[in-house]
Amino acid sequence: MVKILKKEQLVPNIHFMVLASDVIHLNAKAGEFVVVRADEAGERIPLNLVDWDEKSASVVFMEVGTSTRKLGSVKEGEYIADLAGPLGRPTEIVSEKKIMCIGGCYGIGAILPVIKAYRAHKNKVITVIEARSSFLLYWQNLLKKYSDEFYEITRDGTKGFAGHIDNFLNAYLTKNSVDLVYAQGCTYLTYLVSQTTKSYGIKTIVGLNPIMIDATGMCGVCRVIINGETKFACVDGPEFDGHQVDWQNLLTRRHIYIDEERRSLSFYECEKYG
């Protein structure tokens, strides 16, 4: 059992959760993730590690299906079944480069340790966070602390740049140059970022989020096609060169259980709320 030391709803449906752990910090690095299981009947799901110390590991997640809904309903001081990690390969940290870090949705939280690590290695960090509307943006002040430039994008124009990430990238990159783009968030965001930066020839690292179970390389459900080769996102990734990802395959594989996920959620809601 793992105690929830702190829990906060950052914006509707997106939560910040601090979990008790005295081991995650031993080897944790930016870009890695943990696996959690809400209860005895729960799935194992991967969540980006956003922070850690000697007594805890923190995650940011969005409520989507049953598993994240269950996590969302656990209160501070209560317990979840399991926490394991850190997992995956850490972000490759370069130095003295100009790096744009893009986060959307849960990815706004996920980029925090990465921009910290980049900054610690004397990189110039341009942080960009995006959402549908201003009320879905969070952690601005925290992220600004580690950023040399900071931008907000909303699709409805209620804050910062109006439009989607591709509009922003085109506007920014025609006037400025960057050495590297790093993106975390939903598959559509990382896809769109990769598609846009490709024409500028800028190397782009994206965090992928395929379905996982053990997340230690044992089952292969998280396989992704990178440059024509099959890789396991849990042990070979989850970060890959966005220009080499077979996006169609990733999107298709993410939808394997779409019907079951709907069924599971309605089963859970019926059980919980009658």
Partner: protein
């Protein structure tokens, strides 16, 4: 010596095939005390006891069987446990037909003594009597051992070393202990309650168990070696192989590990009560001919498939699966496509597998394994419709530990190199055994390795000599 030898094993009652394909309950019921005594009396009590040499952990087989014949079941289990910490498991999943029973003196003329069934009986008898009594606590040596992996090998090392007075901590990456016994072997072949009972016994003996601890990631072996005097690596063969043929990443194509882990560890067969889903295919092809393939095929039937095919590139004679598993699969209606090799999976517009293209094979000259090599018959390609494919062609050791332990020598395919006499690795204070050394093998071979390692580890811990 019995007056008249009964030529055949005492049959074991089991769930009828038609019934059992609808549930995940265990297939054989096990012997009653009367059946067990009758079977035990078939044992000739040979002085030379070839069966003992046939057992990787050297159980005193005639010894425990004699106790059963006398109705002294408590002594039988005590004798078994002197050499085997997992008798309820081994009685069910060991390939006795190629080990102890194969060399049984009776088998020269008749069916061998049903050693596996008797082992299972003794262990189940003990379980039915409530909590197993604990052995006397040994004097603590003050030495600390880390065991990585709680599969059959890890549990054996832990059981042996705790009895010798060492402090033992097991590190398990998953959220349940048992390794392949829990994520790999289905409930209908090995009820998980049995594994948890054995683990619980070790914990009551003083073994510490840390779940959700991924050695290689959470902490490296070098970090463990700062706190522990010796390390046993029993992390199994968890990296699934694919064939690298077109269409393997289509939806509906599984590795055996994924399929079985979903069903066994995550209990997807109880979805939606359990949250993890699994595709309940109607036309399922399982590629491969080992026990894992049989487990997948039989699981698919229980998940409601109309038709399950085992697609295997050699013939029945070369199948590595146990005869009993093939027999059970046949009884349950699994269709065997011998001498058939998939070469391509074809998807529908939504990215789901809908067909597979195979080629027929014929057997040529023997290959390195001594089995006749399958050779494709040109022009024999054919297409069959499938909605689920499970690739059960084998696996190699998980690379997480070798990747983070640079001075640990590994061979091709990532198997850790050891000295077979001691199971010592190239890295001081580290031993390894089971599938991480052998690639995909069996529960009992992992336990045999563990027994050898435990002896060597104990010697090291007492003398300090590597």
């Amino acid at each position: 010596m019995p007056e008249k030898i009964v030529p055949k094993k005492t049959p074991m009652r089991e769930q009828p095939a038609k019934e059992r394909v609808k549930n995940f309950n265990e297939v054989p019921y096990g012997y009653s005390p009367e059946e067990a005594i009758a079977e035990a009396k078939r044992c000739l009590q040979c002085k030379r006891a070839p069966c003992i040499a046939g057992c990787p952990v050297e159980i005193d087989i005639p010894g425990f069987i004699k106790f059963i014949a006398e109705g002294d079941f408590k002594s039988a289990i005590k004798r078994l446990k002197e050499k085997n910490v997992l008798p309820a498991v081994c009685g069910r999943v060991c390939p006795q037909e190629s080990q102890c029973e194969q060399v049984c003196t009776l088998s020269k003329k008749f069916e061998p003594v049903a050693i596996g069934r008797l082992e299972r009986f003794a262990a189940d008898y003990e379980a039915s009597q409530g909590e197993a009594p604990l052995p006397e606590k040994p004097k603590p040596t003050g030495k600390k051992v880390a065991v990585i992996g709680s599969g059959p090998g890890g549990l054996t090392v832990a059981g042996d070393l705790i009895q010798l007075g060492h402090s033992v901590t097991i590190f398990e990456a998953l959220h349940k202990p048992g390794g392949v016994l829990v994520y790999g072997i289905p409930e209908f072949r090995l009820p998980k309650a049995i594994v948890y009972r054995e683990v619980d016994y070790l914990i009551r003996c003083g073994v510490k168990l840390l779940l959700n601890f991924i050695v290689g990631k959470t902490a490296t072996i070098d970090q463990l070696l700062k706190d522990f005097d010796a390390v046993y690596i029993g992390t199994g063969a968890g990296l699934p192989w694919f064939m690298n043929i077109p269409g393997e990443n289509l939806n509906g194509v599984y590795s055996a590990n994924e399929y079985l882990t979903r069903s066994n560890l995550m209990k997807a067969y109880l979805f939606p009560e359990y949250d993890t889903p699994i595709v309940r295919g109607k036309r399922v092809a399982v590629v491969g001919g080992g026990n894992v393939a049989m487990d997948c095929a039989r699981t698919a039937l229980r998940l409601g498939a109309d038709e399950v095919h085992i697609v295997y590139r050699r013939s029945k004679q070369e199948m590595p699966a146990r005869a009993e598993e093939i027999h059970h699969a046949e009884e349950e209606g699994v269709i065997f496509d011998w001498l058939t090799l998939p070469i391509k999976y074809i998807g529908d517009d939504n990215g789901w597998v809908k067909e597979m293209e195979c080629i027929k094979m014929q057997l040529g000259e023997p290959d390195a394994s001594g089995r006749r090599k399958p050779v494709p018959i040109e022009g024999s390609n054919f297409i069959s419709s499938v909605d689920t494919v499970i690739c059960a062609i084998g696996q190699s050791p998980n690379p997480l530990i070798p990747q983070t332990t640079p001075d640990l020598k590994v061979a091709k395919w990532g198997n850790i190199e050891v000295d077979k006499a001691t199971m010592k690795t190239s890295k001081p204070r580290c031993w390894a055994g089971g599938d991480v050394v052998r690639g995909g093998a069996t529960v009992i071979l992992a336990m045999g390795d563990a027994r050898i390692a435990a002896r060597s580890m104990d010697e090291f811990l007492r003398t300090g000599v590597w």
